[in-house]
Subunit: 992 residues, 2 copies
């Protein structure tokens, strides 16, 4: 009988495969509503976290169901089986990380059936990125990357029918304007989410303003995007969860005492009517799903089938409710057709408060080392991408390793990964995943560098512990070659710091010229770290200038025998300077050609900063909030936790006298300050660098007093900022914040501290008529300006209670048997309140975000470049090389960005023909931001704002200019690129 079965399967498959694909996917595959009715779009969906209480793989395989019952493999297995049973059924798939893992495990038969479902719009991808990314702590570069990855996998596997049209950010804890802007730039038609400040949601429900037009950029044109807030989280209506995880009553329509068709239909219609009162259209969307639902999709669909049948049967007796399977895109399509007008939105949806005492502003900082590690992952990813692109690496073991890092970085953007809101065991798994992928992708970098240079693949090691002044790549820094890769477009000069054992070194450049270098001591607090299994006590510091790639050579010198050497090698001088300033002088200073810092001799605290022609008394210190501890039984009993920041009482500022040491090199000057037993800092200025660096070291945060603590760095100045400050949105556009105010509603500011916290991914600033003060950071943090002239960033937190939003653990990170120790940098820039100041902050941001990546080789011979790398240096300064990466076996993706906004900069033009040629380009085409759709094909819904005239027919956004399209033979003018402020343009360059 097996033969017969096989034949049957083959025949079925043949019928499926040979049936003409009618291209009725997307909006064309949408079910029709009924006129004069409430049309209810039932949207079956499963919200599958790429890690949270369980690891990614535990969720995929359904392991550790004792922690949480969830198995994504079964969800996809059973959903596909159910969709095949009835062409009217629909399901949306969101997280491509899970989908792709599953799809690769399927037989060819199943893959063909899935393609059919996709091509007929029955399985619709919504969202579609590798994960459903967070919107507070993520950097836009990584968001774009993870959408590029997800959409590319979908496009490569299924073609255009699989392209998502709708953003589906249903779970993240607050929503950034930049995310909306990215959706617009990817040609998405709308975005939906489920979480919003509870006061705002209540008001919007009553204002019938749940759906709106979000003007997602102050600089970009055509960045409006339709945005909807879901009515009741992302769950099915109460009582209508038919999932295996629920206990709601099934629809019982058989001959049974328990037959409940009448009451269930009554309840559903009542819900629908009530819901539709809060929405403008005669179409409403009802999600049918929740976390990890549809593991046994048969239950869900069988009961939804019955619900649809019996609700619609009521129409015979006059019911005006029509319900059917649908998708968010089909819902949006109906709204677009209806040509209604909608309210306007210009700011963002931070912070998210789920009740008056629950501000979800703790996760902006939670797990600070993980947040930093993710940035290092991105740093390496961009480095490896560019290197691979230069040598046209594709379809080798090494691009597989690059893919691994791309994928893990996609996972890291997940709203329970970079947010730090996962369980501890899951955090460890993320670390392992990222660490392993970075290790793998270093092989790819090695191969690329081997192809670029004359060195073998055993070289070009990376150091991943430079943050604690440890490099495992070399024992001795003798005969060390430091190959510096500059991921930025433009030539850059930066300081390089190498942990070293010896005391005398000679550094030379590629031309054999000596490069001035000096030794600085590793802060004593770092030397005491329990897990720092290394005895390097100094860092060798030198300034390097790199276009894309440069080598520096380091040799150990014998003990100094001549004055010359001792002059070059500044160590002795440093020894002399490593003394406390005399106690009888009230102040001491660090000063170079750009900056002067004045410190109070008696306390060791910073007193004032002078730079850019501006001088300002600035008090810088650390502060400690005690985390609220309660039983979460009521809003007022909320604990501070992984999600929630809720201080108990006021801040305790560390203003007492410090122990400190001063270390002045010729280029670099540092004050090492000890604030208390577990908080220390290096305040540093470096010649030629126009910012002050505060390198903090915090932990283990003590909990012996049974109190969790949240540590901030605070700056006080006299600037009259008038309640206003600015924070970046995912590292790109800045948003104005007004203390105790919101755009749409009047917040209840019972929680006056945490309610004023905002995510700071890269920059926080304030200014007055005369001065501007900005802080840049090295990872996402929460920040605020709680008083005029004051800025603070939360650096670290350790808490003893869960905050009862699901994670089920206190955020009490430990490592090596003690509380987590974190280290990082905050940069201060003081300037005049001009757009140019803000622009200079942006350039600094670039260097902080993507500094040189150092590779280390041990060799006596010079490294020669065999392949000249293309030169981006002539692009205007405002242009950022956002992405350069292998795209397919014959294509590269190039993304260029004008990093200045409409105030900071202006439209720039340049020609990329030389880059095209430098990359051996044959053809080039322009795409949407994600790289997967020809920009010429863009046709994005335009919605009308309230107060505007409604057009006669539905309107669309299309490409705002003629997309770049050229080939080798094209005239140079074809390669001209213009970038408006904040504009990003994406190109695919075919090279073979």
């Amino acid at each position: 009988m097996q033969l017969v079965q096989a034949i049957a399967a083959l025949v079925a498959l043949w019928l499926v495969c040979t049936s003409p694909i009618e291209a009725k996917c997307g909006y064309e595959a949408c079910p029709a509503g009924k006129p004069n009715m409430i049309n209810v779009h039932l949207v079956p969906h499963s919200h599958d976290d790429v890690g949270w209480l369980k690891t990614v793989d535990q969720y995929y395989y359904g392991a550790k169901n004792n922690i949480q019952h969830a198995g994504v493999q079964y969800i996809l297995d059973s959903v596909v089986a159910e969709l095949l049973k009835d062409p009217s059924r629909r399901f949306i798939q969101v997280e491509t990380a899970f989908f792709f893992k599953w799809y690769q495990e399927q037989t060819a038969t199943v893959q063909t059936l899935v393609k059919k479902l996709v091509n007929e719009g029955r399985l619709e991808f919504t969202g579609g990125a590798w994960s459903m990314n967070d919107e507070a702590a993520v950097h836009y570069q990584s968001v774009i990357d993870q959408f590029t990855l997800g959409l590319k996998v979908l496009n490569d596997t299924f073609g255009a029918c699989a392209r998502p049209r709708i953003g589906w950010q249903i779970d993240p804890f607050g929503h950034s304007r930049e995310m909306a802007s990215i959706f617009a730039q990817m040609a998405y038609d709308a975005e939906f989410f489920a979480r919003m400040d509870h006061v705002e949601k209540t008001q919007r429900l009553s204002d019938i303003a749940m759906e709106m037009i979000w003007q997602s950029s102050a600089s970009l044109k055509d960045a409006d995007i339709f945005t909807g807030l879901l009515y009741r989280h992302y769950s099915a209506p109460p009582g209508f969860c038919f999932d295996v995880l629920c206990s709601d009553a099934p629809i019982i329509d058989g001959k049974s005492y328990d037959n409940n068709v009448k009451s269930r239909v009554d309840d559903f219609i009542s819900y629908v009517k009530s819901m539709s009162n809060s929405f403008r259209a005669t179409h409403i969307m009802v999600p049918m799903g929740d976390d990890f639902q549809y593991e046994n999709a048969e239950m869900n669909f069988k009961n939804m089938d019955k619900l649809i049948k019996y609700v619609n049967e009521r129409q015979v007796t006059g019911s005006k409710v029509h319900v059917f399977y649908s998708t968010p895109s089909c819902y949006v399509n109906e709204l677009h057709k209806m040509q209604l007008t909608w309210p306007n939105k210009t700011q963002d949806f931070f912070p998210y408060a789920s009740d008056d005492h629950s501000y979800w502003t703790g996760y902006y900082t939670s797990r600070p080392t993980q947040k930093r590690f993710e940035r290092i992952g991105n740093h390496l990813l961009q480095t490896v991408k560019q290197l691979s692109a230069f040598v046209h690496l594709y379809h080798t073991e090494y691009t597989g390793k690059l893919d691994a890092l791309r994928q893990v970085m996609g996972i890291m953007q997940h709203h329970d990964a970079i947010t730090g809101t996962e369980k501890q065991a899951v955090a460890r798994d993320y670390d392992r995943l990222l660490s392993d992928a970075m290790t793998q992708s270093q092989d790819t970098a090695r191969l690329a560098l081997t192809l670029i240079t004359n060195l073998g693949v055993q070289q070009f090691d990376s150091c991943l512990q430079l943050n604690i002044s440890v490099c495992q790549a070399y024992d001795s820094a003798n005969n060390l070659v430091v190959t510096l890769f500059n991921p930025l477009a433009h030539r850059s000069t930066q300081y390089v710091r190498l942990p070293v054992l010896e005391e005398h070194y000679l550094v030379t450049d590629e031309n054999g010229r000596e490069v001035p270098s000096e030794l600085l001591p590793v802060p004593s607090q770092l030397l005491d770290l329990p897990h720092r299994a290394h005895n390097t006590k100094h860092e060798l510091v030198f300034q390097a200038t790199v276009l894309k790639l440069a080598n520096y050579y380091v040799r150990v010198l014998p003990k100094p025998r001549s004055q010359k050497l001792s002059t070059r090698q500044r160590f002795q001088q440093l020894e002399l300077l490593q003394q406390k300033s005399k106690a009888d002088e009230p102040e001491f200073t660090l000063q170079n050609s750009l900056i002067k810092l004045v410190f109070d001799t008696s306390t060791g605290h910073l007193k004032s900063v002078e730079m850019n022609g501006v001088s300002e008394p600035i008090d810088q210190t650390f502060g400690i909030y005690n985390g609220a501890r309660a039983n979460n039984g009521a809003p007022s009993r909320r604990s501070s936790g992984a999600y929630i920041f809720r201080p108990n009482g006021t801040i305790a500022l560390l203003q007492q006298k410090l122990n400190y040491t001063v270390h002045k090199g010729e280029k670099v000057q540092e004050v090492h300050q000890q604030f208390n037993e577990w908080i220390s800092q290096v305040t540093r200025i470096s010649e030629g660098v126009n910012r002050v660096e505060f390198e903090w070291l915090i932990g283990p945060i003590p909990i012996e007093d049974d109190i969790g603590k949240e540590i901030v760095m605070r700056f006080d100045s006299s600037l009259q900022s008038n309640g206003i400050f600015y924070t970046d949105s995912n590292g790109r556009e800045m948003l104005q914040r007004v203390r105790n105010k919101r755009e749409y509603f009047t917040p209840n500011m019972t929680e006056s501290v945490s309610g004023n916290y905002y995510p700071v991914t890269a920059r926080i600033a304030l200014q007055d008529e005369h001065k501007r003060l900005a802080l840049l950071n090295d990872r996402a943090q929460g920040g605020s300006s709680l008083a005029d002239g004051q800025l603070e960033l939360m650096l670290h937190r350790r808490l003893l209670n869960d905050d009862a939003f699901g994670v089920g653990e206190a955020l009490n990170e430990t490592q090596f048997g003690t509380g987590l120790i974190a280290r990082g940098k905050v940069y201060l820039m003081l300037n005049t309140p001009t757009p140019q100041s803000s622009a200079s902050e942006r350039l600094a941001q670039q260097e902080i975000h993507l500094p040189f990546w150092p590779f280390f080789s041990k060799t006596n011979s010079p490294i020669l470049s065999s392949v000249p790398l293309p030169d981006f240096n002539d692009l205007p300064q405002a242009v950022h090389l956002l992405t350069l990466e292998p795209y397919s076996s014959s294509e590269l993706l190039l993304r260029v960005e004008n990093i200045m906004d409409h105030e900071e900069g202006r439209t720039v033009s340049f020609n990329i023909r030389h880059i095209f040629e430098g990359l051996s380009g044959q053809e080039i085409r322009e795409t949407t931001l994600d790289g997967n759709m020809p920009l010429a094909d863009m046709r994005r819904f335009k919605f009308q704002q309230d107060g505007t005239t409604v057009p006669q027919s539905a309107e669309f956004f299309t490409a705002p200019y003629e997309p770049l399209q050229a080939n080798k033979a094209s005239d140079s003018s074809k390669f001209s690129v213009t970038l408006d402020p904040m504009q990003i343009r994406t190109f695919i360059i075919k090279w073979a």
Copy 2:
């Protein structure tokens, strides 16, 4: 695309349907093992209780998943889908009640696919009865009925391939020999179960005696049946539950840090090796399932597929473990082929103790009113079946109503229904189901009686509250016709009792002759029942004699005017007798021509019984055990509960002086005794009836002292029973019990009371050289003989703690806001210790089990029978008309039984031609006990006992004689029937 899909489905279906059915079901469809290996038969199964914590329908539809996650519709949906994916997969379906409900809901396509699965042995029915019946409290008649029903549905739906071969009693709490005998008589090849006294199981594991040959009858030939105890309950090996209800690790075989193939295979092989040490064959059976598992069968099969794949892959490196999907029948088939020998078993597996303090002997009595109601259900069912058969009712609305009662009675046999071990809400649902089905089937009875007589269908009402002396069928008993139906084969004379309001009646028979009648008072305790909404204070009692059907006419008389009437109507006389005997006489008696009872005047207690020429001092009273209350945290902390009987301390006997009244009619004499505030009794003898009747009324059992109580009726005599007593097995063969002893092992008798309790479905007896004392009961109860000469039956129990075996509720039945009140009868027979005495007890059992069923009509005119009913009266007295029922639209099923065992009686012969003709028979054929398989086709595995010579080829039991097969034209000799002691023969009579 819908058309294409439909075509694909049709083509697939066509291929399925037209492919020749190779009849490779049953043993021919079994997977092959491998020589020189441990062959592991993985048996996917789901144990689906037909009610327990949820009602039948709640389980079926998956409602109330908050109580227990379980939805049988999804189990069957998903199992069928999974079986279709791979022809090597197997599943056994057990409970036909659920299966049939599901199958009827399926589309023709699915039904065809299911047939294919059945025909290929991929979906195998095991057990196959309507429910998995209990084995302690059930009556054999109902067990046979519910197997007949289940197997008939399977046979009608699928044909012979669906016929179960294996008994699958995996959950019942102890195992009866009668059940094994019934399996043998139904041609089953083996039986498996999972529960056995823990001491016995341990011993059998060590003796390698887990599998045995059960000699299931002391009287029947060829009743040996292979019986196996499962190794580890009926669950998957620890760690290998891949079900949605479990949290064991899935098999992770992908590229993952969590890949666990090696450890999982290691663990499985280790389990298999350990298990195989306790079994004789190189084949072992591993169940893969548990309660309500396989709701998402895809999870189970996907992981089992992987387990099989990776375990068998180990064979390449020398592993000797071969694992494959299989079924119990395929396992038994391999054992049969191996021609090993096996240990012997002759008794039963009661009581079941799961630890030294947990004797599952409470459920023998739990929910006494439900247990009684089930018997009334059977009583009506047999009545309606016979009536329907007489008039050849089939395929009408009325047989549908009969089917409803058949099905509900099948459900009532379930091991959490009649056992009383379900939740209270479920018990109420059972009551409702049975009550409704009985009400419906009364319509069928009405129609049949209408066809038999001259009366319209509005007549022939039944009374279901006669147990509390209430009949709702008539307001006044004037012009009342009582139509008595006798379900037994033989003419019978019984007392009829009618609750009446008036005081003077005339009863006449069908010939207009007056029938002596008398009034007896309803016991005062009954009059006070809170829910007895009736004011009848008397019962009209008369003796009736019925062959199959007889009418008695009742008229109210005016107040008596003549001596004649007042003589006939004994009421005044009764008044005189309703006085206490004079206190100065130490004894008073009840006496008639057969029995003399002597009571102590001062205490009111029974002192002695004299009957059948035997006189014996007998003390009869009630006793109270206090139920143990503890936290169930350890065996010694076990509470008495729905399953467990665990008295705390010794019994408290009610030996104090009673209040009592004596009521002597001409025929019936009663003592009404009040033992305490909530226990009373009527002790009764009736002229012509050779047994003493004790009609008890117990409740509400008080719990104000926070102590649960278990009430027994105890008889003490001077019989020297020497530790030996006898209890029936499901109402049929008797088993000898020896106090504190077991057949196979030495029990730990820490629980000396409950450990000596056995199920008493119909009879418990003891004897010595001179005398025999037997008790008959009206429902299943627990009973014992805790001292020589002593017998006790547990009548009622009310407990305040759960016993922690899953039901999660204390057995604390309430009704109308107070504790449950129960009423019932115990019959005593005192005799000489001869086989004839036991035989007379059997005949009494018949009358108690199936007395006349009274129908009530209100009419002035006589009822005439238009259809003569066939006459069974000339069959030998030992022959019982076990079943007569409609079988199909043209067939009846007739089952006759020799109710005497090999000691009580002998082989009888008779001819059934006149019955055949009376039923308009055209053809008759003989079948197995269940009616569904021609006896001529029987070919049942014969296994060899240890010590016997092993035959060269496997042997089989076949029909032990030439099965009866005849038609209208056959010679009368063809209709001759011989019945050995305890033999049952089943015939299908085609009448059209």
